[in-house]
Symmetry: D2
Subunit: 470 residues, 4 copies
């Protein structure tokens, strides 16, 4: 193991643990970002229950590190256990898939038989709830391991359901230095940049030049102020909606993901008309927080011009990414040092004292959002700098929006409690309280609840198994 030290205006000897280090996609971007930055250097320990995937990424990481454009050299190794990965770690990255797409198939599609449609199914709704039930025990294990082996490490979470995962970490180990990152807000900043080009011909604006105040829950996040070089962007956004409310704004997305993730921002535009704030996540996510408006049927979804991401699509996409992985490992596809667009590496840099940074982050509410309950995990801006993350006061959510956000904040808390304490009754209430389930009567809701719990048999803790007769 290395020892962290300050040298040449940078930091060397960093020990990073990457839980879920077999990731095909996100991990590659992270490794490229590290390679592109000359001020940090160290070792990344890849840990994954899919050992082969981790080993593949160690090979890919080595290729990236060896690339001639790489500004710094990182060492990639695999770890056989959480303990091995975490011991001595300065930084921990968590980015896992809770279980497999098989369980996710139940999450997303089982509720359809009661007319409940979900566009993603990983955050709220019956799918988000079930994903939470299996993610929570995994995060209990991770939190305990961090407490035991790396209690002072900075911990970045990328896994969904973000709020639930973060809350579990803090519930199990309150002193943990964890924060949750999500790029949905970046997308909303980019939309504002596109708007500047579309309406005013101002091009080349980077999303970081769009200054926003961020407030809400992950995937149901909002801007109540947005400016570009002192120019208030709200009047422009109204003009933009005037122009594109009906048609939607056809953004071209050139990243690796296909159109299953595209949207025309009509949900966003409608939310602005309803609440006067800029919703700052993809429409597929936003819609799930107000399902009775946007998700009542596949036709409704079509009308709002976003997509229902089927799990079938995910299976197909995974196959493609597995092929890319193999090709990268073999060296058939060359690695490149291009930025991922994420900013995890920048946050780490700031926390190590190499410059201050303001960014959006998910943390337990200590008052950063005045009128949401304390401890609920919320998303706001924070200042990252040498040794500390301090959320800024985002203020209060406006009264017209508050009931909707507060409802989901309470549900999030209940989901965490139900999962942590394997509380069948609270779980059922919470499952049935989700707005998407309010049209389903209690007996049907319970039938669905039990059958969805059963569908994830392999990941349920003992008490749950007993409740549902496994």
């Amino acid at each position: 193991m290395n020892e962290l030290r300050y040298e040449d205006g940078g930091v060397k000897g960093i020990n990073a643990a990457y839980i879920g280090g077999g990731s095909r996609g996100w991990a590659w971007g992270f490794m490229r970002d590290l390679a592109a930055d000359r001020r940090m250097e160290g070792e990344v320990r890849l840990y994954d229950i899919d050992r082969k995937a981790a080993r593949n990424n160690a090979v890919i990481g080595a290729r990236i590190s060896a690339h001639s454009d790489a500004a710094s050299k990182w060492v990639y190794v695999t770890s056989g256990s959480l303990r091995e990965a975490l011991t001595g770690a300065d930084i921990v990255v968590i980015s896992i898939l809770p279980a497999t797409f098989k369980e996710m198939e139940s999450d997303v599609h089982a509720p359809e038989r009661y007319g409940v449609w979900q566009s993603v199914g990983d955050t709220v709704g019956p799918g988000g709830f079930m994903r939470a039930m299996r993610a929570i025990p995994m995060y209990v294990e991770i939190a305990e391991a961090i407490r035991d082996y790396a209690p002072k490490a900075w911990v970045i979470n990328y896994t969904n359901p973000m709020g639930v995962c973060m809350r579990t970490l803090y519930e199990v180990f309150p002193e943990i230095k964890a924060f949750g990152c999500c790029h949905e807000v970046f997308g909303a900043q980019k939309l504002l940049a596109d708007m500047l080009a579309d309406l005013r011909g101002i091009t080349g604006v980077s999303r970081r030049e769009i200054k926003v105040n961020v407030s809400g829950l992950n995937h149901f996040t909002w801007f109540d102020s947005a400016s570009y070089k002192g120019m208030d962007l709200f009047p422009l956004y109204e003009e933009f909606i005037q122009k594109y409310y009906e048609t939607g704004f056809a953004e071209k997305d050139d990243n690796w993901m296909n159109n299953s993730f595209e949207c025309a921002h009509r949900v966003k535009f409608d939310l602005f008309r309803r609440y006067g704030l800029i919703a700052a996540a993809g429409d597929r996510h936003l819609a799930e927080f107000m399902p009775n408006v946007y998700l009542t049927s596949p036709e409704t979804v079509k009308g709002w011009k976003f997509g229902l991401t089927s799990v079938k699509w995910r299976f197909d996409d995974l196959e493609k990414r597995l092929a890319i992985s193999e090709s990268l490992v073999r060296g058939d596809t060359p690695v490149e040092i291009t930025p991922s667009g994420e900013e995890g590496h920048l946050l780490i840099k700031a926390l190590l004292g190499l410059g201050d940074l303001v960014s959006n982050v998910n943390l337990p509410n200590k008052g950063q959002i005045e009128n949401l309950p304390r401890e609920v995990v919320v998303e706001t801006n924070a200042i990252f700098r040498g040794g500390e993350i301090r959320p800024v006061l985002a203020g209060a959510l406006p009264p017209n929006l508050l009931p909707i956000v507060a409802e989901h904040a309470h549900n999030q808390e209940n989901t965490v409690k139900a999962g942590l304490f394997c509380d069948y009754k609270l779980g059922l209430s919470t499952f049935a309280n989700d707005p998407s389930m309010r049209n389903v009567n209690l007996a049907d809701a319970e039938e669905l609840y039990i059958s969805m719990l059963k569908a994830q048999e392999a990941y349920l803790p003992e008490p749950w198994r007993k409740y549902v007769g496994l």
Copy 2:
């Protein structure tokens, strides 16, 4: 005017103002209750915009006071203005109908064209919202009059929407000594008494012997504890539900109201299964707080065995009560000194120092419900005694129920703000936020909003009239 004085273990010279004193029904009960109590005496000034109705009640009051069974003599006069009624008042009773059944017809039935059904339409939902829009300016006027002419009087409100009316009083005149009374909780206590008879053969139990902790919003009120002589009633209630969940419990209601108000408590039983608490209001009211479960169609309502109270029924019922009124005035129907079942007179007695009383009451939340926002009008127990009402700490609502109650608490606040400040946008958000409206798209919601506002043309303040093009 009299002067209040303590004599013979009682209080004489009480000045009471009765706003809405032309009431046909509730007023008669109140006058009978006063007559039956030997420890209070004074004058009641009846004020009503329907002058004739007030004059009739003055005649009826005089007949009651002159009855041989009357234990005390009260004088009934009519007042020509709020000022006249209020000046020097020790007690103010407010029990008005905000506008007429014509406006209520729009409240209840207009939303049906978008598939939105309401069983009462006076508390929440589009009907409750519209009723609030016209009640708020009336309550502003009343609050200002109390501030100017009777700032130290105790003020009892009986008008719905209770929360909105109470909140307006406190918003306009924060020092007001107002509290809101509602008998729905009494009904739930009686149901528990009936249950004791049905399951255990314990008969003759009075509702006041059923000790309950009350917590929630008016018409969406809950018991989280209930006991009879030290016996916990929750296990009994579970047994009761086991027996009657499917059939409902066919309570016979022998008061003057017809079956339009009856219910079989199936909604209450279902809510207990969902949340583990005893809902403490009539099913017709409760259902409106979870309309997507209980009010999706007239068939659903039938299945839950409660009724949709049509405004046609109200018109018919009013005609009957008008006939009774005329008959009482003429002396054709004799008055009787029978208790009304209400307890307004008992609360007044306690406030005057004639004994302590614990009862449920609507007041701005100062912490009596720990996890609802401050200032929202909530219903809990309070101790009434010489010169003060002090709410007891009802504790926190349980987490599974909290999201639902909190949602309505926020809506209540927004309704009040929209009404007070004639805020078109906040009004529209709030109108559309109600769970019953969440399936209606924004354009339709706005169409309904405008047309319902127009339907109450005669009672809208100027700014609203302009917004909706009147």
Copy 3:
């Protein structure tokens, strides 16, 4: 063991555990009060580390129970352990002396060498702090025993420091149903009754007829409203102070305590002039919360006409009470069924469902005092009735008084934390933060801190002993 049962309009088969049951004085009154009440009957198990004292009280209890005036028969036994005393208990009374007068001698008199005078030394100040350090481990043990053997029992605490003892019980066993009773408030009510006689010739008023709103900390409790049959007593109290500010009001106290406890209420009167509220505790206690005003020297104390209760006096008094005890045991002094003036038995009765009662009580702050921190033990009114104690909302302390009360509330919390976690540094800060110690420099404060900790050698937990070199 008996089983609790409702019979003949009362409760029989009550099991009460009395921790500190060897008490000479308070226990006798409690036993008389029980005997005088015909609606409760059962067994009291006396537990005391002074076994002989407990045995003596069992004999005295038996004599009281056998008295011809006794309305009910109670059985008195002694218990050899907490476990034995508590198992199956419905009611637990705790009234102990933390350690002996030897330790208290240090509490009260050691600080005098730095010019710090204390009139009681059992609540705040260096004496109160030290008493807390030895009471906390005792209360940890008691709380654990209640959790293990009588988790559903009602627990009444009478021991000082009240706030610290109560807070420890709730910290160790949060579900405990404990409340703290103190008669200081009764004395203030009696003073108001005496005032009615002195100023208006209204005699024979019982303290329970004086309705007060109680708010503050134990021994630093306040009335912000007080009335007698609807008459506001505040103007009268101003008149009273006008008359007696200089001379004091020479109350005759006819109970068994000698003049070491008397006061002329000059501190109370001065506090009214400072803050406009009626302080509701004896002057000796009140003075210790503002020592820089009232306790700067024995001469100052004399000027304010209250006394410094020396521990020498306590030793002498104890001897007298020991003699009475022996005489009662032998039967030389006959027992009598006279009321003690306390109301513990009435509260028990109310909790068992035999009538409602409003009284002052010490409980963790859940919002009953709006502007003191949550969880601090505060004293306010509460309603006691079948199965529950619910504090009433006492409101906010007035701004001018708030800084003084809040300061002590914070100190109380710190004292508890220092004691529970044997935190030397927090203990020292807290010890030095007390206003009586603010004139003492840090080195002197630490010397005193250590030497006073050493003086209670026999009762200090291990970590403390190490810190101070024992």
Copy 4:
């Protein structure tokens, strides 16, 4: 008037109003800082009730602007009224002396006759209170003028008592965009930089490289974390105190102020031993918050090695500064473009969108300090950037320090209320509640209160004048 516009990567056409623009000292530094910055340009309107002083500064400002080293050209004019100065202002600077040194003489020295010593007398204690009583009406006038003429301007306050002045601005005009700046924190950062040199030989560290978390009240501000390039400075500070606790650390201060402001940091060191946090203000200010420890007599003060700043010294110093002013106006003393060490101009730049900045600032508490009351003006870090100031969450004050800070927070609130509402009684309670006055009996306190109020006859609003018989 100019119009603000973005040009060449900077902002031109800025309109600044300077209230108290006749300042001799602080204003000169501000004008130099503006001149040195090439990215801002505009006009400063100097307003002062001392017209001549303002005119002199306009001349000096013109000289600075004309200096060959000036990177930008600012125009300086004088305004005859608040209205004239404020209309159209983008930025408002307030830096006034509330009344004159004559009034301050009473503030500082009158209490000495009761043994109350003050080292500054402008923040808390009897002097701070009296200064507040005359500053509050001035700030009411200023707040109203800003509301009427420059409601959207950024407002920087430098006047003491900081908390009271800021609170008044927000109380009168809640939408004001005001913040309060103070350089005391900078001094504490510099001390840590000096420490790095003294203990580790690390020289040339700028105070901005010392990253601190700031929390507390102005002049009673604290660091609970401090680092330099990732190095935790707390262990070093302990070592530093070990070395210098007895002797003090003899800092050489090379600015224009003489030794009346110097200190040896012994108070700071003692506070660290008491509370474990780094106090972040000059000892003269800190001492006034714990007067019973540090200010009991001039000898005590000498022992702690700080000074009592007499008002005599202030008179003498003023004369010197008047002479410099005349010399600058005449051109006898040449102006120079040297940095003042303040950062007001940097904050303005950040607010205009020219880069982000984190700095300490005084603002009403919206939760940035978790355990102080809301609305009290507190000092913490905030992020300044395009169009917004957002305080960071500073967290909770540690429990051992909380009672002391909370006490002063409450006093600050009471002082503001007493001043705003001319509340004689609340004023007296508050005056007497200050820890420095707790040894003074109520009659003496009232005598001092009245006589000190009288001493500022010329500045007291009518109601006060009546109370004290003027």
